[in-house]
Symmetry: none
């Protein structure tokens, strides 16, 4: 009994420590990016010795990937669920945006890390780390493609390459997350959900009837 309890306590503690390190690493990677972050700084941030990093992770890259992987998969699954739900397009897009923004509000640092590594994901990259990130990102893109394709077939979206619409949606979302990070805004980005959806579907043009502008409230859907 005691032995089992003992073992279990140890295991629980180990897992907790691993988590603490992951959290610390997230903060440091968010601040500095993968390359500029040092294991030393992560260790200090986590209040562990440098050696402890290597008890829990094989190396810096493993630490980084462990960090990314879980979250990426979780978000990917959530988004997939949305895309494959039985909803109508507009609702799907709305839910997609909401899911994304909620995830951002829950964990801004993760999105900062991702945002910083994305632009390095070029076609020519040889880097193992980047190849993995690239693959994951392309999966998300394909997911959005699917959604757009469907919308186009239903005649709800412009007759253009689905990918371009996907890019547009993700571009708007990313741009908002980037702005929130740039300014260090603390208010939830999820408040922007409606605006983003409207801007995506309806664009930036003022669509209210001419002549009824003054005093009218916004009539966006």
């Amino acid at each position: 009994m005691q032995g089992e309890e003992n073992l279990s306590r140890r295991l629980r503690e180990k897992i907790a420590h691993r988590q603490e390190i992951l959290e610390a690493a997230k903060r440091v990677f968010a601040r500095k990016g993968f390359h500029a972050a040092t294991v030393d700084e992560i260790a200090q941030e986590a209040d562990f010795s440098k050696g402890a990093m290597y008890v829990h992770f094989a190396n810096k890259e493993d630490l980084f990937l462990s960090l990314i992987q879980e979250k990426t998969e979780e978000l990917g699954e959530r988004l997939e669920e949305v895309v494959h739900s039985a909803d109508d397009l507009e609702n799907k897009v709305r839910k997609f945006v909401k899911t994304y923004l909620d995830a951002f509000d829950e964990d801004k640092e993760f999105f900062q890390i991702i945002a910083a590594e994305h632009p390095r994901l070029t076609a020519q990259t040889q880097d193992r780390l980047q190849l993995r990130l690239r693959e994951r990102y392309l999966e998300t893109l394909r997911l959005v493609d699917e959604m757009m394709q469907e919308g186009i077939h239903q005649g709800r979206l412009r007759q253009t390459e689905p990918r371009f619409l996907g890019i547009t949606l993700l571009g708007i979302i990313h741009s908002f997350t980037a702005q929130w990070l740039l300014l260090g805004r603390k208010d939830p980005l999820s408040r922007m959900e409606s605006l983003i959806v409207e801007l995506f579907f309806g664009g930036a043009r003022d669509n209210r009837k001419v002549g009824s502008r003054k005093g009218e409230k916004d009539v966006s859907p």
Copy 2:
């Protein structure tokens, strides 16, 4: 005479060499990012010695900033000209997009560098390099703000914070550039000008008249 000619030749050569180094640095920074790029690799790419780097630039950061600065200023000026021109809003936005896309087509590597460094430009950054980049980016944002503000006042754009519309426009643009880089597409991005402008103003929804489609009802706002 001879001395002056000599001096002038020297000067011309020096400037040419500096330029060659900048071009080489651009390629390397684009491939690797600021941190992972090494002075050695830049020197090799430029076909100069490592020492030559320090004849023309104070240090690696100076080299990087010199690279960014010129281009950023030039683009900034071009964009400012557009924004401050006498055109009507739709044309301004179109020209803005075109200017941006043309600049991208002219020099993809510069945009790759910028894209990679942007996400690090958070509110808390202490890094001198990042503070400068941040300031420049905010200037561009203010420029777009101006344009949007004007559009809102004219009733041509939604009644919302101008910044949000600016973010949207830039988000769409950046997302397209990112896609071009991600896939290594060689065709000019400027072809997307019209699509981007339409998506920005009119959104992704299919706006064709009802009745001209097959049995579908149009649900545009």
Copy 3:
């Protein structure tokens, strides 16, 4: 009674564990040498935790020396018995060789370890570990010296420094063990006993009578 039995069981177990660790350590040290071997690898090979190593041994060096010591002493005693036996020289040498080769066949790994550490035992070494090994090796040398001295006095061996003859005998033996290890030969080295003894005493030259070479059986001493 019960307490004593208990204690005795514990003691027996402890000794058994110690022995298991020594065996595992031997395999690892043989594979990697003292420096490249890690306590972790030894622990894994022994199927104990790293901590258990330090229950039984003060440190890695102590583990290594414990390993060497026992075997070295046992072999030293066996060889001393041979050298101090009442046999005639040729038989002594034969027994000496046999004892050595049998020991090798019994425990190749031990000889591999010894062979690898020997060459570091130079005159200038300051290393505590090496000084102890050096002392032990010199003891064996003195033992062989004795035997050779005796043979020289008896007129059975060349009139030269006994040490040189000892070196020769040991050199031949070591060279055979090295070869067996180099090629990973599994057949007992003790089969080489006669050949080694003959080569030591009679040399490599063909000593058969001239004119009777063909078809004659070997008449080496």
Copy 4:
């Protein structure tokens, strides 16, 4: 002219520095062996910075191999010349021994390094470094095999496996070099040439006629 002189001076200096590092490395590797030697200690011994090591060599292993390679090849060539010369067997062996001993006298540290790494060259080794050393050593063995084979065919050597005779010769030689290193003897080992050759061919037995022992000079070949 001046530029060329300049370049040549630099090159000469670089080569000289490389040589100094190699010499320092040789001393350290001889003292400690490959694994226990540190780049730091080598740098200190060479009176250069640690970084300078990496200007001249790719890494520690490269430094080590550069050290071994040249010498090994040179000795190998010298030995091959001897083995493939037109001499009669006894002279060949004598020259072989002399060549080996002279090389030892010229550069004891090299032989110490080799001697220390040899025993790790087992059949199972996976280590790249060791595989290369193993291959080189086997080449030498084959060379000696050749010589012995020839002697056996000529009826000058025992009818036994050539390899065993080769092992014997090398064993005696190595044992003498080991003894010289163990005791730090400064007198040239080449003095032992005749003794070694005699011991190899004629063995350790006293071959003088009975009754003629006193006052007779040794008549072994």
